[in-house]
Amino acid sequence: MADPIRAVAAESLAGRAAPRPADPAASRRPRAGRLLAAVPVLTLVLFLAPIAVGLFGTWIPAFGYLPALGGTEAGLGPWRTLFESPSLPGAVQLTLLTGFLSTALALILSLGLCAAWHGSRMMAAARRALAPLLAVPHAALAIGLMFLLSGSGWLARGVAAGSGVLGMPVWERPPVFGMVQDPWGLALTFGLMLKETPFLMLMIVAASGQVRIERTLAVARTAGYGPVTAWVKTVLPQIYPQIRLPVYAVLAYSLSVVDMALILGPSTPPPLAPLVLRWFNDPDLTMRFVAAAGACLQLLIVAAGIAIWYGAERLIARVARPWLSGGHRGGSGRVARAATGGGMALALLAAAVSLAALAVWSLAYRWRYPDLVPSAWTLGTWDRNLPALAWPAWTTLGVGAAATAIALVLTIACLEYEQRAGVRPTTRALWLLYTPLLVPQIGFLFGMQVLLVVLRLDGTWPALVWSHLLFVLPYVFLALAEPWRALDERYVRTAACLGAPPWRVFWRITLPMLLRPVLIAAAIGFAVSVAQYLPTLFAGAGRLTTLTTEAVGLAGGADRRVIAVYAFAQMSLPLIGFAVALAVPALLFRHRRGMRA
C-alpha cells in the first residue's frame, strides 16, 4: 500500500488524529488494534478503487481508445457523434428538468413539513407513514405509479366510475392521453419526488438532533416569531449545512436515474442516462464509444448540477439575508401547514394506492377497463411464476445479505477503530463516503464492467456483491455512525476496568447494546442492495438477475399481472428485512425492560 493513500485514508476516514498526547492508548495498542487500524484503509480501497478504475475505463473510450473494440487512436470522434445525435438535446433538457424539479420539490416538501409541523403529532405520524416508503425499491414504486396513472390506470377508472355515478359519464373508454411517459417527464418527476422526500425528511430529522433546536425555537417564539417563520429563520440555516450532502446525493441520483426513467419517463427521447444505456446495448459496437462519451457527459452534468445548486444556495442565502434579519415575525403558519399537509397527504395516498395496485394486479384474473376492481381473481399468476421467480429471488437475497454483511463488518470495524483510537472523521471523509452516491452510476459502471471482463469476474457473485457494496456501505455507515458514537463510553470503560479484553467488551457490551441500530442499518443496507438496477445489469452480465432487473425488464410490456407479481416480490423483500430488524431485538430483549426502545 502506497503511503500517501494510507495517509489520506487514515486522516480522512478515521479523522484527524491530531491530539496524539491525549491518546495514550495509541502507543500500546494491541495487535487487534493494528488490524483494526487497517480497516479504514481497506474500506476506502475496496470502495474508491472500482469507482476510480471505472471512471478511467469510461473516459478513455470516450476519446476513442479501446483496443478490444478496435479503437486504437484517440480523438474527439465519439464526442462529435454524441453532439450530432438528434436525440441528445431533448434528452439533456429532460434530464435537467426532471432532476432539478424533483429534487427541489422533494426538498421543499420535506423542509416545509418539518417547518410547519415541527413537534406536532402530525409530524410523528408522517415520519411513521413515510418510513416504509423509504424501504420500497424505486422500480416497484414506479411500476405501482404506472398502474395508477396510465391511461387505463386506477385513477382513470376512478374518474370513469365517479363520473358515471354522477350521471355525467366521461372516459368510458381510456383517455387517449396518459399521465405516465409524458413528454415533459412529469410522471418521472413525481415518482422521484415521492421516493426522495422520506429520505430527505429522515436526514432533516437526524440533523435537527444535532442542534439545540427546541431552545432556539423557544427563544424565537418568545420574540414573537410565528412558528414556521421561527423554524425557517433560526433552524434552517443551522441544519442546512448538515443536509447539504444528502441533497446533493438526491440531485445526483435524480439527474442520472435509469430504472424509474425506463418505467415512468418518455422514450422519444428518454432522459440522458437511459439513452446512454440504450447506446451501450446497441448491436453496433462502435456505438459504445458514443455511449462512453455520453456517460462522461452525464458525469459532467451531475457535477455542473451540483455546482449550480451550490450557487443557488449561495444566492438564496444572500438574497434572504435582509429578510432573515429584517424582523418580520410571520403569521400563524396556517397556510404553510395546509399546503405541506395537503402535499404530504397526496403523496402518501399516491404511494399507498400505487403499492396496493401491485397487490391487486398480482391477484387479478380478469380486470378490464373501466372496472374499479377485478371481476375475477386468481392465485394462478403467483403459482405459475413462483418457480421462475425463485432464482432471481435467491440471487437478490444472497447478494443483499452478502453485501450487507460485508458492509456491516467494515463499518463496525471503522467505528470501533474510531472509538478506540479516539478520533473523529472529517468533512472530507464524509465526502469520500458519499462518492458512490454523487458519481452517476452510468458514469463508471461501464468502465468497471471492462475491468470485470478483464478479470473474468463479470457475471459472478463476487462481482455482483462488490458492485452492490459500493452503494450499500455508505448507507450502512451513515445509519450506524450516530448511534455508535452516542453509546455512553462509560459502559465500555467499566467493562475494561473489570478486566475484559477489548474483543470481549465488544461482543458482550457494545454489540448487544447496539443490536437495534445494527439491525436497522442492516435492513437499510439490504433495501439499498435490493433496489440496485444498473449495477446488477452491468456486473451480473445477464447471468445473475435479481427481482429488480426482472421487474424493470418486464415493465416494458409483459402481462400486468406478471409485472405485479415481480414488483410485489421485489417490494416485499426489504419490508421483510425491516420487520425482522424490528422483531429480533423485541424478541431477544423481551425480558429486559432497559433494552426496550
Binding site: A68, L69, G70, P86, S87, G90, G151, S152, R173, P174, V176, F177, G178, Q181, D182, P183, P266, S267, T268, P269, N281, D282, P283, D284, L285, R288, Y365, R366, R368, Y369, A376, T378, R384, N385, P387, A388, W391, V453, V454, R456, D458, G459, A541, G542, R543, T545, E550, G553, L554, G556, G557, A558, D559, R560, V562
Partner: protein
C-alpha cells in the same frame, strides 16, 4: 418406368441405405457422446422474456431435459436479443474464446446475420441433432434461409411465426385489411391504433409489413439494403407514417414498448386494433383472461409477414453439448406439440407432421387451436421477410425521424 430404371432405382436406394446405415450408426454414437458430455452441464439459454406463456414453456422444457438428460437450463430473459449479440461481440473483442456467458440463444433475422457476419457462431450443429431430420425443410423454406441469409446448420429451427391482427368484434365490425385502409381508419378513429416503438421487433415488423405493401415492387426488399436506393424505396413508407402518426395513440408522441403491451391496450379499449407475431396469441390470451372472448384475428388482403425463429450456439459457449441436447429436445415432437398448443404457447410447428411416427400426426391434428386462431389456409402464404440488412436501416431511419 422400365425394368432397368427400377433396378437402378432399387440399387441406388440400396446403396443409399447401405451408405446411410453406418452413417446413422456413427451419428447415434456421436449423439451418445454428446449426451454423455452434456450430463451435469448448465445451459444459459438467452431469449426474449416478454411473454409469460413463452417463459412457462421454456421452464417446462428445462424441467424435461433435466429429468431426461441431467442438463440444467437457466432461462436468461432479455428485452431484446440484440443486447445479447452485442455482449457476445464484446466478449469476442475482449478475447474471450471460451467460457462465454451464453450457451444457447433464441434468434433469427438480422441478429442471426450479425452473428454469422462477425463469426460469433460455432461450427454447424444441426446435422448432429437426431430430431433435425423431422424438420419440414421443403415445405418451410424459411427454415433454411433466414431473412435472406442461408442458415447453413448454424441455427436450429424452433417455431414458425406469422403476423396477425387482432380486434374485438364487439366493438369493431369491419377492421381495415391493408395499410392504406388502416390509415383511413386511423384518421376516422384518432388515438385508437398504436404500434410498438422500434427496435422492438413487433414495431419493426409493422414497419416491414407497411414497406412491403407500399413499395412498387415488393421483390426489391429481398436485396441487401446496400444494393438499392434506400431513400427512394422507403419514401412511400415515411410518407405513410408521417400521415399516420398524428392519428396514433397519444398522437404518435409516445409508443407502446412491446407487442404484449398491445394486447393489454386492446383489452383496455385504449386501442381497437392490435397485432402479434403468434397466430394463436389471441386464443391463448382469451383463455388466460387477458382478452374478451369476442376478440378475433385476421390477416391483410395481400398477406402478412411470416418467418421462422431459431436457436443458435455462440462460438464461445461453455456448455455446447448441453446446448445441443436442449436444442434437440426443443425439436422433438413432444416439445413441438406443446409449442403449437395455444393453451401453452401456440406457435405453428417446424416439423413435417405427416412424416412423424404415430401417434404424433393424430395428436397434432387433434390440437384445439382455439376460438380466435386462423387455420394455415386462412392465414395464407406468408410474405417473405425483407433481407436481414433492412432491419437496422429501417430502425435507424425511424429513430432519426420519430425518436427524438
Amino acid at each position: 418406368m422400365s425394368v432397368r430404371t427400377l433396378i437402378a432405382a432399387a440399387l441406388a436406394a440400396g446403396l443409399i441405405a447401405v451408405a446411410a446405415a453406418p452413417a446413422a450408426a456413427q451419428g447415434q454414437r456421436d449423439w451418445d457422446d454428446i449426451l454423455e458430455e452434456a450430463r451435469g452441464q448448465t445451459v444459459y439459454f438467452n431469449g426474449w422474456g416478454g411473454s409469460e406463456r413463452v417463459n412457462a414453456y421454456v421452464a417446462r422444457a428445462a424441467d424435461r431435459v433435466l429429468e431426461e438428460h441431467g442438463v440444467r437450463v437457466r432461462h436468461v430473459r432479455v428485452g431484446d436479443i440484440s443486447e445479447v449479440v452485442s455482449r457476445i461481440l464484446a466478449e469476442m473483442t475482449a478475447g474471450r474464446t471460451d467460457s462465454g456467458s451464453v450457451d444457447l440463444m433464441w434468434i433469427n433475422g438480422e441478429n442471426f446475420a450479425a452473428m454469422k457476419r462477425n463469426g460469433l457462431l460455432g461450427p454447424p450443429f444441426t446435422h448432429l441433432l437426431p430430431n433435425y431430420a423431422l424438420v419440414d425443410t421443403e415445405g418451410l423454406p424459411t427454415t433454411l434461409v433466414d431473412f435472406g441469409e442461408p442458415v447453413e446448420g448454424l441455427e436450429a429451427p424452433w417455431g414458425m411465426a406469422q403476423l396477425v391482427f387482432l380486434y374485438d368484434t364487439a366493438r369493431l365490425e369491419d377492421p381495415p385489411r391493408s395499410m392504406l385502409e388502416l390509415q383511413d381508419w386511423a384518421r376516422q378513429n384518432p388515438g385508437r391504433f398504436a404500434y410498438p416503438q422500434p427496435p422492438d421487433f413487433h414495431g419493426t415488423t409493422f414497419l416491414k409489413q407497411a414497406l412491403i405493401e407500399l413499395v412498387d415492387d415488393p421483390d426489391i426488399v429481398q436485396y441487401p439494403v446496400e444494393a438499392v436506393d434506400f431513400d427512394a424505396v422507403t419514401a412511400p413508407l415515411w410518407a405513410f407514417l408521417d400521415a399516420l402518426h398524428p392519428h396514433l395513440w397519444r398522437g404518435g408522441r409516445a409508443f407502446p414498448q412491446s407487442g404484449p403491451q398491445l394486447i393489454q391496450m386492446l383489452d383496455d379499449g385504449t386501442i381497437e386494433i392490435a397485432f402479434n407475431f403468434n397466430p394463436a396469441e389471441a386464443s391463448a390470451a382469451i383463455a388466460d383472461g387477458q382478452l374478451p372472448p369476442t376478440v378475433r384475428t385476421y390477416v391483410f388482403e395481400d398477406g402478412t409477414i411470416g418467418n421462422t425463429h431459431f436457436v443458435a450456439i455462440p462460438f464461445n459457449a461453455r456448455s455446447r453439448a448441453g446446448a445441443m441436447v436442449f436444442a434437440n429436445f426443443l425439436l422433438s415432437p413432444e416439445a413441438q406439440l406443446r409449442k403449437e398448443d395455444p393453451q401453452v404457447w401456440g406457435d405453428p410447428t417446424v416439423l413435417d407432421v405427416d412424416r412423424l411416427p404415430p401417434p404424433w400426426p393424430e395428436r397434432f391434428a387433434d390440437l384445439d387451436r382455439g376460438i380466435a386462431t386462423l387455420t394455415a389456409a386462412e392465414r395464407g402464404r406468408p410474405l417473405l421477410e425483407p433481407h436481414a440488412s433492412w432491419m437496422n436501416a429501417l430502425e435507424a431511419e425511424w429513430q432519426t425521424r420519430y425518436g427524438q
